[in-house]
C-alpha cells in the first residue's frame, strides 16, 4: 500500500515532503469540495441551463441553443424595460448616496460630545432587515395616511406625490428609501477619514490652506480608495435590487411584478420562479452578470485616474 502511494502520489517527493503535501491537500479538501459543489458546479449548471428550456418540475432540460437569448432581445418587452428601471434607479441613488454619505461622515468625524451615539443612530438603518425597512416606508409613504404626505400637507403642499402608488413617483420612492440607509456608507467613509494622517492637515495649515483646499487636496485624494470601494459596491448593489421592489410592488396598487417597479432581478425571479422558466431566467441572470462585470471592469480600469493609493516609500530618493 505504501509503495502504491509512493508510486502514484507525488512520486518525486521524499517521504516527509509527501506526508506534508498530503496533509496540505487534506486540509484544503473541505474548502475544495465546497468550492466545487457550491460554486463551480452551480455556475456550470447555470451556463448550461441558459441554453435550455428547463422547467423545474419537468426535467430534463431541453437544449434549445440561443433561443433564450434571442427571445430576450426580440420578444421579451420587460428585458430592456427592467434594465432601464435598474439603470434609472442607479442614476437616482448611486451618486446622491455617495455625496450624502461623505457629507454625513464629515459631520460624524467632528470631535463633539455624544458623537458615538449619533454615529450609532445613523448606522442603525443599515442593520435593520430590508423587509422591515420596506414595510416601514410603505407606511411612511402612504398617499393618504402616511407621515410624509401629512407633513407635506401641513407645509401647504396641496397635492403631495402619491409615491409608491404613482408610476412617476414609484422609483423615486424606492430611491428615497435607499437614502435612509446612507449611514452604512458613511461609516465606511468615516473609517477612511480617520486613517488620514493629521500631519497632512497640519502641514497644509502651515502652508496657509483654507478648509476647501484641505478638503479638495487632502481629504478627497486620501479618501479616494474608500470612495472607490463604495462606488463599486454601490454599483453592484444597484444591479441587485430585489427585496424593496418585490415587497413595495406587492403592496402598492400596481401589484408585484408591475412594470413600474420591475427591476431586472425581479424580472429574473418572475421568469424563473413564478413562470417556472429556469432556463430563461438563467439566461437573463447571465446577461446581468456580464453587464455588471463590464461596468465594474470599466470603472476599475479607469480608477487609476482618480484613485490615489499611498505607497510606502513613494516620493523618497
Amino acid at each position: 500500500m505504501t509503495n502504491l502511494v509512493q508510486r502514484f502520489i507525488f512520486p518525486k517527493l521524499s517521504g516527509l515532503q509527501r506526508r506534508e503535501a498530503i496533509s496540505a491537500y487534506l486540509f484544503l479538501m473541505p474548502w475544495f469540495i465546497g468550492f466545487l459543489m457550491f460554486l463551480v458546479v452551480p455556475i456550470g449548471m447555470a451556463v448550461y441551463s441558459a441554453f435550455t428550456r428547463w422547467v423545474l418540475i419537468s426535467p430534463p432540460p431541453v437544449w434549445i441553443g440561443i433561443a433564450n437569448f434571442r427571445e430576450m432581445f426580440t420578444t421579451d418587452k420587460y428585458f430592456t424595460w427592467s434594465l432601464g428601471i435598474t439603470l434609472k434607479y442607479m442614476a437616482m441613488t448611486l451618486i446622491p448616496l455617495m455625496i450624502i454619505g461623505l457629507s454625513l461622515s464629515l459631520l460624524l468625524n467632528q470631535k463633539l460630545r455624544g458623537m458615538n451615539f449619533l454615529r450609532t443612530v445613523f448606522y442603525v438603518p443599515a442593520v435593520v432587515s430590508g423587509v422591515a425597512v420596506t414595510i416601514l416606508w410603505i407606511s411612511l409613504l402612504d398617499p393618504q395616511m402616511g407621515a410624509v404626505n401629512t407633513v407635506l400637507r401641513e407645509l401647504g403642499v396641496q397635492n403631495p406625490p402619491r409615491w409608491i402608488n404613482s408610476p412617476d413617483w414609484a422609483l423615486p420612492s424606492l430611491a428615497l428609501m435607499s437614502l435612509w440607509g446612507v449611514g452604512g456608507g458613511a461609516i465606511i467613509y468615516l473609517a477612511g477619514l480617520q486613517n488620514i494622517p493629521p500631519h497632512l492637515y497640519e502641514a497644509a495649515e502651515i502652508d496657509g490652506a483654507n478648509s476647501w483646499q484641505k478638503f479638495w487636496k487632502i481629504t478627497i485624494p486620501m479618501l479616494s480608495p474608500t470612495i472607490f470601494f463604495v462606488l463599486i459596491t454601490g454599483l453592484i448593489g444597484s444591479f441587485q435590487v430585489f427585496t424593496p421592489a418585490y415587497i413595495m410592488g406587492g403592496t402598492s396598487r400596481f401589484g408585484a411584478g408591475s412594470k413600474y417597479m420591475r427591476f431586472y432581478l425581479l424580472h429574473v425571479y418572475i421568469k424563473g420562479f413564478q413562470e417556472g422558466r429556469l432556463g430563461y431566467a438563467s439566461a437573463l441572470a447571465w446577461i446581468l452578470t456580464i453587464l455588471s462585470a463590464i461596468v465594474v471592469i470599466i470603472v476599475y480600469n479607469s480608477s487609476e485616474r482618480y484613485v490615489y493609493y499611498e505607497k510606502s516609500g513613494e516620493g523618497q530618493g
Binding site: 506526508r19 422547467v55 423545474l56 418540475i57 426535467p59 418587452k77 404613482s166 396598487r253 413564478q274 413562470e275
Partner: protein, 476 residues
Amino acid sequence: MKNIKYSWLLSMLTALVLVLSACGGGQASPTTKAAGAEATATQPPAEEKATATVASAETIKLVVWDFGGDEFSWMDNIVIPAYQEKHPNIKIEHVGVPEDELGTKLETAIAANAPPDLVVFPPNRVVAAGHALVLDDYMARDGLNRSDYCTLFGSWNVFTGGGTYDNKVMSLPIDTNIWAMMYNKDLFAKAGLPMLGPDDVIDFDTWLNYARAINKPADKLADRVWGSNLFFPIWNSMNNYMSDPYVLGDDGRTCLGNAETDDWVHFWEVQVTAYKEDLTTWTAGSMLTDVQEDMFLQGKVGMTEAAMGDAFNAAQQGLNVGLTGQPVVSKGWPGNVGGWNTDYYIMAATKHPEEAWQFLKFLSIEVPMIVPVGTDALAGAGGLPGLPCYLPLLKEAKFQEMMKQNPLVADAVKLMKRIKLPPFTPDIWTSVNAFNDGFTAMTEQGVPVKEALHKTAQDCQDATDQLWSTYEAIRK
C-alpha cells in the same frame, strides 16, 4: 502519532464526503422516482392491499402542505387529532406555507424529490406536468361519483379549486364558496337604493350610480363613507367569467380582441370614473386599500366583493348585510358569481398513495361534519368558510337547519348555482396581471382608456402565449 492524525483526518474527510453526497443524492434520483410515481398514478389500487397496509403496525407519516395560519387552523385543531385517533398508525405532519410561496416551494420540493404527500392549490403546471395522482380509480373503487360533488368539481383551474384535468379527477374538494358582493343594507336604505337579492343582476353603470349615491366625502377619516370598494377586474370580473366573450376567449388563450370589446372599454371607463370621483378606498392609497374589508365592517363602505363567510362575519358583527352577485361587464350576461373550492391534491410521488387517498376522502366526506362550516366558521374561528362540496352532506340535518336559520346561507346556495365556469387557461393571474399597469396608466397618467386597454391586451396576449407554450411543453 502521525498515522493517528492521518486516520482522524481521513475519517473526517470521509464523513464530510458522505454528508455532501447525501446532500446531492436527491438530485440524482428524480427520474427513477418519477417513473415509480407514474406507475403508482396509473395502477388501479387494490382494496386488499390498502387494508393490509393500513392494518399493519407500521407508523406512516403523511406530510400535508397548505397555507397554514388561522385559515387552516382547523387542520391542527380538529382534523389531525380526529384522524389520528381513528388511525393510530398514521401520523399527519401539517406544514403551513405562505400562499405566495407555496408554488415555488412545492416545485423546488418536487425537483428535490421531496414533495409533500398532499398539497392544497398546487400551481396548474404542477398538475399538468403529471405530479398529481389521478383519482378516478380510487373513486370508482370506493363508490364515489363526480355527480356527488358541487359545480366547481367539474372545472379545471387551481383558482377555482376545480378537481379535474383532462377529464381525470385530481382532487376531492372539502368545501365550496362563492365570490359575490355584499352590501350594507342600512347605507343602501339611507341612499334610497333598492335591496338586492341573489337573483338580481346589476351592471357596472348601476354599480357606479349606487356608489355615487352612498359616497360621503369628509375631511376627517372618521366621518368618511365610501360608495364601494373597487371590484378589481383581475380578481373578479376577468377570471370569474363576467363578460361575454370571456376575457381570454373561448379557447382561454386569446386576449387580443376579447379583452378590449366595447363592454370592456366601457367597464374600464366606469372604473376610471369611480377612481377619479374618489368613490372607492383605492383612490386614497395602499394603506386604506389594504384594510378595505375592515372599512366595510365598520359601516364605512357601501358595497364590497365578498365570499360567503365574509357576509356571515359582517352579519355576526351586527352589520345589516345583504348578499348578491357582483356587477357584470356585459349587460344582460348572467354570470355574476365566481367561486372556488378548498381541495388538496395527492402528489404522484407519494410513498403512501393509499393512505393519502384515505385521508383525502376523510377531508372531503367527514371533515365538513366535524369542522365548523359556513355560518359556524366565522373569521378567526378556525373553520371552513364555505359549504360542503360533497352534496350528500347538504342533506344532513345540520346543513338543512343552517339554511333554514340563516337567510344568507340560502342566498349563498342560490348564488352558487349562478357560477359560470370560465374556459381553462394555464394561469389566469399571469395572463391578466398587465391590466394592473393598464389601469394605472388610465388613472395616474391620463392615457385614454381605449389606447391603454389595447396596449395592455397586447401584453396580456404575450404573457398568455408564453404560458401556453410552457404549458404545452411540460404537459403529460
